[in-house]
Symmetry: C2
């Protein structure tokens, strides 16, 4: 048997290491989006319950669009913080999110779910549904497009 | 110079052909989703204008979900046809869609846009915004998730 040169040994180590990193990356890619999105949603709701609109807006990408009912598209974190500040000012104390599905394609994903909005004393003020387009942004999943509407009957 | 064997020549042809097919596929992938989605939206609006709710529903995947305001999630083409039949019965004659963006990731894409709903004589009854998740389904881009809400002020 020939003794491999140092260069060959280094190449073999690099290949072995490369495969290991690729395997780890593949596993992280497979497991991570749903778990990361669940965690981001939990943090979103916690930040909302604190009444911190800027912290809520920090879960969005810099180029995010939010689509509030009865209003224009809010573009960017500052405009989105105003949307959530408006909801807080209108008496909404808590946002409950229930994810129905997450489907990811590389650094993008979509989520569909239902929401409930609670006021003082946990009274339910609204319930509806939403679709969010998520983007992996600097290693973190952030909300990129966010649209929702009520499931309650239209006022007569 | 050595004369390459037939096997080597075949391999070279296969590589050259493979690269060409890959290049063609890459170009088709880049150009196609937006154009296909524009065409599907034009057909959607034409089918709606004819009052054909089943034809409108045919633009959705079999597993599609539509998220109508003031209602529950409609799952599948039959339920989605009912949503659009309901809109037609409520006096909506035309749906105008304006795409703001399409972003594709393989066989999935998301679109964001604005809509206007017109009644008898082209009178605008509603305007708002939407997010659609598209899926390439049997070679055709179909609506997979479809959510919208009004931009008009809430009734007082």
């Amino acid at each position: 048997m020939r003794s491999p040169s140092i260069a060959r040994r280094a190449a073999r180590v690099a290949i072995a290491l490369g495969l290991t990193l690729a395997a780890v990356a593949a596993i992280a890619q497979t497991v991570s989006p749903r778990a990361a999105i669940d965690a981001a949603n939990a943090k979103f709701s916690a930040d909302f319950a604190k009444g911190d609109a800027n912290a809520v807006a920090s879960h969005y990408t810099a180029g995010a669009w939010a689509f509030p009912p009865n209003g224009e598209i809010a573009k960017g974190r500052e405009a989105i913080a105003k949307v959530w500040k408006g909801a807080m000012d209108a008496g909404i104390k808590q946002v409950k999110l229930t994810t129905l599905e997450v489907e990811s394609h590389g650094d993008a994903a979509h989520e569909a779910g239902t929401y409930a909005l609670m006021g003082e004393g946990g009274k339910q003020l609204d319930n509806g549904k939403y679709v969010v387009v998520w983007k992996k942004d600097g290693g973190q999943w952030k909300i990129h497009r966010d649209i929702w509407n009520t499931s309650m009957p239209a006022p007569k």
